[in-house]
Subunit: 143 residues, 3 copies
């Protein structure tokens, strides 16, 4: 029973990270309302306070792109009652298409998360993106 | 119990996508008989009707290669009784080795699937490959 | 019950592979004591006998690097009582940073594993790395 509950919780927490990826890549930013707590914090290149600030930051980064793909894998999750921590690896491809064809920037990194169980399910309370490497043209992200 | 059944179904559906990858990359194309319904359809660069047409298409694409690797991750699955839908991200590396060494073409994309539960287990009823980006030499796939 | 036990075992086996990745990339090599049997064997470029030899090999390969990222996904696992076999795909990024910036070598491959259940949990009895492709500068790994 305990093991079963833990599997269910862990699947729900992986689902949360997967929902984040598809919300970003489908440009359905309001889906992040079901991913982050209203008062969530994040480190996404800069420190962000509150879900609205997180959504604005993500929108600003992704709207100029033609395609993005946030592939996540290698999930490590620890559940402790109604709190949990987790990390996973990501490879996030960023694409801008110009007159000469597409230009790519791959960002390899790690998400480090804290989660809280609410009456509506698990939510991210804090997410930090640790960039490990990049490959491609930094201009894709406006750098 | 319901949650447990759903976890079991979801694991079986991820297994199906994993079996697809290894069938392709091991060139064990007949293993796809346990992955697709006989009357399955697919969009793999072109519209395909029936498992045999799907197998032929995959065989034609992969046999000329020296190596392929269909890494899949970021699985989103929704089970509804004996039907399910799912999507996942893939990074498919394609390699041809010539006198000057290997030439690579990475294809980044998404599989969008519909599944059906049969008496022998879950099967893919429809799979669409959505290519999001490529990186490398298009000649690897004969383009 | 049987299905539930199998899900728990499979999650534990994926966890083992994930723990391996983070032990390597965090340079916490002694965490591998909880991953491999003391008399484990491995094929990591060369044949290795015993956990200490495996740890030495990994340490020698990774300590010279500035960053590594062993992303694993696409897990195929078969449990048979207190034994199991598994394989997964990896994309392992290797980074050295010099005066002109970072140099990258990505290694794409497959881990092929045999596992044993012990009183302390599942452990890797044998791991073989099959390299499928590389992309980047081989000098990053000293080749």
């Amino acid at each position: 029973m305990a093991a079963h509950d833990e599997l269910t919780d862990r699947q729900a927490l992986v689902d949360l990270t997967v929902a984040y990826s598809y919300a970003l890549d489908d440009r359905r930013f309001d889906d992040l309302d079901d991913v982050f707590l209203p008062d969530a914090t994040a480190e996404l290149g800069r420190h962000l306070e509150g879900r609205d600030a997180i959504k604005d930051r993500i929108r600003d980064a992704l709207v100029p792109l033609d395609v993005s793909q946030h592939l996540v894998a290698t999930h490590e999750i620890r559940v402790d009652g109604d709190r949990a921590t987790g990390r996973c690896y990501l490879q996030a491809q960023h694409v801008r298409t110009g007159p000469d064809g597409p230009t790519l920037l791959m960002v390899g990194g790690r998400y480090e998360d804290r989660y809280v169980r609410t009456t509506e399910g698990w939510r991210i309370a804090h997410r930090a993106l640790v960039v490990l490497w990049t490959n491609g043209d930094p201009a894709v992200l406006g750098a």
